[in-house]
């Protein structure tokens, strides 16, 4: 039979995704440990999550540097010993701070898990926080910050945040250059005592997990008494007072104009969230989206334009971002507004809707697989207070969506007249 290249092969709709179950355990001292056993390699990711994000700080940069200085020396290991040993065991240590949480992530081969966790436990419970090392880190970060501040992308991102939440708001405030000079070891020690109590930790373990792995976790994290008070989330004011305006900020010499626009949006647990997620994906959430197809593929105004919903624990924001050729920036902005309006005034054609559904289903299938991705999924289930099946369930809501649903979502939650836009560039 002759091959017919004009005929697309038959497609199967992806309608179900199964993920391994999250095992919820407690260590001897009551420490919560969530586990997913998965993957073909003998390694694990250990993620320790602590409510010590920037919303808990009373001074700029304190949460960040407290988290960063942990590996600069602890009671039983100097900074160079920590670095040396982790490298010797082929382990990777990654620390990170968001608005809500502070994280210490360790990627480790199972054969070295015991030796590695001995070090991690020490630096998380008995860090030394040397002033000299702090100074060096501050200088480095400050230099990195100065470079970032020259990029139009950073400027537009910061301005957007400031406008949406407010410059003093726990979700809106951002560090300035001269904040770096105000950070002192005493601030960090105080913040550590207040916020890094074991009482409030949560540990996520994913990869090839055995009974032995749990014993090791228990040995290093399950024996210390979990003192301290239960952490209270700061009350975040969720009254928004930004206006739907277009702001143009001059940045001389910029060859591109950075666009950042959007509005406050729905959190993951909201009943409309899956449908909104589908709708925003159609608009700008993947390469075949309306924004990409119009502004990049049709007009060549940009190398990339995307929309997304980003999440804090108590708020979510919808945003569109792009770096546009300066000479096209204003035209591009008009096209963006046009596309957003189109989504809320015209029903999405069936074939486009079905394409995006299948694309999202495929993406979900890919992202709910493997030790690292599943570790992330577990963490989100906990931090956003979701059901275990939240992510695998999303596929049902998405596959069942109609074009009326999308229209409704766009009208209710993606009205361009409610959005704030910032353009930073050479005008």
């Amino acid at each position: 039979m002759k091959l017919n290249r004009l005929q697309a092969p038959d497609l199967r709709e992806i309608s179900k995704i199964s993920t391994p179950k999250i095992e919820k355990l407690s260590l001897d001292n009551g420490m919560p440990l969530w586990v997913i056993n998965t993957g073909s390699q003998e390694l694990v990711k250990v993620q320790i999550s602590i409510p010590a994000g920037t919303i808990y700080q009373h001074q700029s940069l304190i949460a960040f540097f407290t988290n960063k200085i942990l590996k600069e020396g602890s009671k039983h290991f100097s900074a160079s010993q920590i670095a040396e040993r982790l490298d010797f065991y082929g382990a990777f240590l990654d620390t990170k701070v968001t608005r809500d949480q502070a994280y210490v992530n360790v990627f480790c081969l199972n054969k070295h898990l015991n030796s590695v966790l001995e070090i991690i436990a020490d630096l998380l419970t008995k860090p030394i926080m040397p002033q000299k090392e702090l100074q060096t880190i501050i200088e480095q970060e400050k230099q990195g910050f100065a470079i970032q501040m020259q990029k139009v992308k950073s400027i537009s991102h910061r301005k957007f945040n400031h406008y949406i939440f407010g410059e003093k708001h726990p979700y809106g405030r951002l560090a300035q250059l001269n904040d770096y000079g105000q950070v002192d070891v005493d601030h960090l020690k105080h913040f550590f005592l207040e916020n890094y109590q074991m009482k409030n930790w949560h540990i996520f373990l994913s990869g090839q997990v055995s009974k032995e792995s749990i014993i090791i976790l228990n040995r290093h994290f399950g024996q210390i008494e979990r003192k301290g008070k239960q952490s209270e989330k700061p009350i975040i004011d969720l009254h928004y007072s930004y206006q739907a305006k277009r702001h143009f900020i001059e940045h001389k010499g910029a060859m591109q104009t950075s666009l950042r626009m959007g509005k406050v949006s729905l959190q993951r647990h909201h009943p409309d969230y899956f449908l909104l997620s589908l709708s925003q994906t159609i608009l700008g959430g993947f390469f075949g989206s309306r924004l990409m197809q119009n502004i990049r593929e049709d007009k060549g105004y940009t190398y990339g334009i995307h929309s997304m919903i980003s999440h804090h624990q108590q708020a979510a924001v919808f945003s569109i971002s792009s770096e546009l050729g300066s000479e096209f920036a204003h035209k591009a902005l008009e096209e963006v507004y046009k596309e957003i309006k189109r989504l809320r005034t015209e029903k999405v054609p069936d074939d486009e809707l079905s394409l995006v559904k299948n694309y999202m289903a495929g993406g979900l299938l890919k992202s709910l697989n493997g030790p690292f991705a599943l570790g992330e999924m577990m963490r989100m289930v906990k931090e956003y207070d979701l059901s275990q099946d939240h992510f695998s369930d999303s596929i049902h809501a998405i596959q069942a969506a109609t074009s009326e649903d999308v229209l409704r979502m766009a009208q209710k939650y993606l009205n361009e007249e409610d959005m704030l836009s910032i353009m930073v560039g050479n005008h």
């Binding site: 091959l3 290249r5 004009l6 697309a8 092969p9 497609l11 199967r12 992806i14 993957g39 073909s40 390699q41 390694l43 590996k71 900074a79 160079s80 670095a83 040396e84 982790l86 490298d87 010797f88 065991y89 082929g90 382990a91 990777f92 240590l93 990627f107 060096t136 200088e139 480095q140 230099q143 990195g144 100065a146 470079i147 501040m149 010499g253 910029a254 060859m255 591109q256 390469f287 990049r296 593929e297 007009k299 060549g300 105004y301 940009t302 190398y303 546009l324 050729g325 394409l355 995006v356 299948n358 694309y359 289903a361 495929g362 993406g363 299938l365 890919k366 493997g370 030790p371 690292f372």
Partner: protein, 418 residues
């Protein structure tokens, strides 16, 4: 160890199949043996521009991305000096769509004028975004022609000059495709939830009737040995100075390649590495400092790149860096330190095997430089390296007379305080 099977179709297409049953996905990777080094010096940036055009529709299928998205798949591609690599990840049940799409664009592209116009514009924007509109963005536009005076590595994948892309003509683009984009110049890798019994018939069905193309004969001018140190000083609107030093190293298949790689690890891989501990942490000479190799197939570069801390001049930073470089030449690396970097390397390999896409790319890459089987022999090459070997390689590599140094100076602003 990555287990796989390999076979070749009659038209010369090499196919590699690696089964991994822990995932519901399959990665399809197609590597074409063409990169920026194959370009005409007056028409650079073509391999990369071409990568963009590959998404503009093929002879039987008007768009590449849409049918793939409909099948729940994702895709991307990259170009470098040596290869152009395309990859798809797709749920197993819709694998045949990937075959349909990739085979059609290997058969023939649509070559529409609109596609060329739009992608030309997109690439120009990419040029600006990556190289011109970022602080330190143009560093490689300066470093490459400084180190290479003859070999095509002297220009970047994006192109020597933006005008080459601006002036690209359809005939040039078509002849580039004819020369390089055929089955006997390509390697197809399938990695994930797939067996040989499933793969072979699909490969025969979709790829077997694509005609073979002319054999690619490379006549790339060899870079003559560098005899003298070279220096370049530039000033830019950036917040801090930056220092770059490059050295010519051996080609990818040379027995010294792995030693050169380990040298870069000892110097700069991980928080316990020498440059980081000595020059960043202890002495505070650099705010950031890196040593790495380029990974090119033809003789590439060993690169040092760093930003001096505030108050340290480029001259002082360079001097301090040379002290560390001399140290690794004069003193043999101790056993513990050597073992450490070998451990790190092995660990990185294990972590690398988590991703089926990563495995697919590695298999394709090794097949393109020698044979895929060599991927599994690589670790042993590193294990065997001795301190004496490292010292010899360091002494040959890091000579001042063969260095290429770039001082990237921050323009002094009027408000700078002394």
């Amino acid at each position: 160890m990555i287990e796989f099977n390999k076979f070749e179709l009659k038209n010369g297409l090499t196919v590699i199949v690696h089964q991994d049953l822990s995932t519901p996905i399959i990665a399809m990777n197609i590597l074409y043996k063409v990169g920026a080094r194959d370009e005409n010096p007056n028409k650079t940036g073509f391999a990369h521009l071409f990568e963009h055009l590959m998404f503009g529709g093929s002879v039987n299928i008007p768009t590449f991305d849409k049918p793939l998205e409909k099948a729940g798949g994702e895709n991307n591609a990259f170009t470098n000096s040596d290869i152009t690599n395309y990859y798809i990840t797709i749920p197993k049940e819709n694998l045949e769509t990937a075959f349909w799409l990739e085979s059609d664009r290997m058969l023939n592209l649509a070559f529409t004028d609109k596609s060329l116009e739009v992608q030309r514009q997109v690439v120009i924007e990419e040029f600006k975004q990556s190289y011109l509109n970022q602080p330190y963005g143009d560093v490689w536009l300066l470093l490459k022609p400084l180190a290479y005076q003859t070999h095509p590595y002297q220009w970047n994948t994006i192109g020597k000059d933006i005008t080459h892309i601006e002036n690209a003509k359809m005939e040039d683009v078509k002849s580039f495709y004819k020369k390089y984009y055929h089955p006997n110049n390509a390697i197809l890798v399938l990695s994930g939830n797939i067996s040989m019994d499933e793969a072979k018939p699909l490969c025969e069905k979709w790829f077997a009737n694509i005609p073979a193309g002319p054999k690619v004969i490379r006549e790339i001018p060899v870079e003559p040995e560098q005899k003298e140190a070279r220096q370049l000083i530039v000033e830019r609107e950036v917040p801090s100075d930056a220092l770059y030093i490059t050295f010519h190293m051996k080609d990818r298949l040379h027995p010294d390649y792995q030693s050169t790689d380990l040298l870069s690890d000892i110097l700069s891989n991980g928080p316990s590495s020498r440059l980081y501990r000595k020059l960043v942490k202890e002495k505070g000479i650099f705010a950031e400092l890196d040593a790495y190799i380029g990974g090119d197939i033809d003789p590439g570069l060993f690169i040092f790149s760093g930003k001096p801390s505030v108050g340290i001049s480029l001259e002082q930073a360079e001097q301090e860096l040379w002290v560390e470089i001399e140290r690794i030449k004069e003193q043999e690396v101790e056993e513990q330190e050597l073992q450490k970097v070998k451990n790190k390397l092995e660990s990185a390999m294990v972590f690398g095997e988590v991703s089926i896409l990563n495995k697919a790319m590695s298999l394709a890459y090794y097949e393109s430089i020698s044979r895929a089987e060599d991927l599994n022999l690589e670790v042993e090459k590193y294990r065997k390296i001795t301190s004496k070997q490292l010292q010899r390689v360091a002494q040959e590599l890091f000579t001042k007379e063969k260095s290429n140094t770039l001082y990237y100076k921050a323009k002094k602003s009027q408000h700078e305080t002394k």
